[in-house]
């Protein structure tokens, strides 16, 4: 799994960082998401899929799925 992030779309909702904190964080100043691990390990995959599905900006895309 590879995490692709469309940063200009991100609305800084922080849903991703709450659901998969090992893979996403938010920048302190504006809350825009940061991908901590673009190729997350197996045990994170469910959380990452959940984050991608819930992201209200459709800014997270998963490749190699």
């Amino acid at each position: 799994m590879r995490v692709e992030f469309d940063e200009p779309k991100c609305v800084a909702a922080g849903q991703c960082a709450m659901i998969a904190p090992a893979v996403f964080d938010q920048r302190d100043e504006d809350g825009v998401a940061i991908v901590l691990d673009a190729t997350p390990p197996e045990e994170e995959h469910d959380a990452v899929r959940e984050a991608a599905a819930v992201c209200p900006a459709a800014a997270i895309r998963l490749a190699g799925e």
Binding site: A13, G14, G31, V54
Partner: protein, 377 residues
Amino acid sequence: MNRIVVAGASAAGLTACETLRREGFEGTLTLIGDELSLPYDRPPLSKQILSSQWEPERLMLRTEAQLAALDLDFRLGVRATGLDVAARTVRLDDGTAVSYDGLIVATGVRPRALAGSGAHFLRTVGDALELRKCLRPGTRLTIVGAGFLGAESAAVARGIGCEVVLLEPAPVPLAHAVGVEVGRFLSEIHRSAGVDLRTGVAVSEVVDEGVVLAGGELVASDEVLVAVGSVPNTEWLADSGLEIGDGLVGDAFCRAGPDIYAAGDVARWHNPVFGESMRIEHRTNAAEQGMAAARNLLGAGKPFAPVPYFWSDQYDLKIHAYGYLRGHEEVEIVDGALAERRFLAVYRRGSRVVGALAAGMPPKAIRPWRQAILAAS
């Protein structure tokens, strides 16, 4: 369960379909949507689309390849017109019917209309493109309703250089939603940006020349945008026997009938976090409830207990809020100050925290308050 029908092909309906597949549902999955476009996102309509920063291609919620991977029986441009709960069939406007073992209702809402004709609304991509075509520097735009939609549109129209009149029936815009102090603060933001905000104004109708107020006065306008709230799309369920009451009514599991679940803007359900029945018109809720409805239809048996979240962009100001602010009795500014255009407001009912709103603050600052809202339940 061999066949699931999802009615409404937008944020909630699409997320429900994705969740059903992720949870292993391999049967026939029919997605019915009456718009012609593939599923797209609405929040940018009053922001990046209206301001011409984006073109509609950017709105697509999923690529064609992602949609194809869901293996949908996709009925695009088709409207559901009726539901027979006993026979488990949905009637369609092309004269056919589709039967189901499980049904998810995600038909959303539409704008509430005003008397008269010639007004713009802002719900679909077509609406947004039509409105933006009409907005030029100097265009006299009157917006009826200073809720989030009207306020965001006013901000974009000022950016284009329109002369904007914003009419609001309440004495303070958004007071029921964010409280009087924050409502006044937002009023000031709009006034200082040159919006002619008139509060406590009742509108009687929209005419060719503009908007006629209850007293008979005409607000002369080139274009009129009506943004006075919305109506749930439940007419097609009217003779189904399901409970309709400002939305399709479900229980804490979003269950509205036998193997029937509701999600998104159309859905009213009992939220255990607040012990109240609510219907939420927020983008994040549409996705979260779409997921919950799908899982419960497959038998998860888990109450849908979210802390609602929304954001709004007005000028350079970003607003983020958690909770059920409508239920508040008291507001306290716990960080920053309204005058600095940078603050965190906390909403309480009795001693209980029910919501928090941040404006001009780093969004992370508000996250601990989400925890506080949950912990208070």
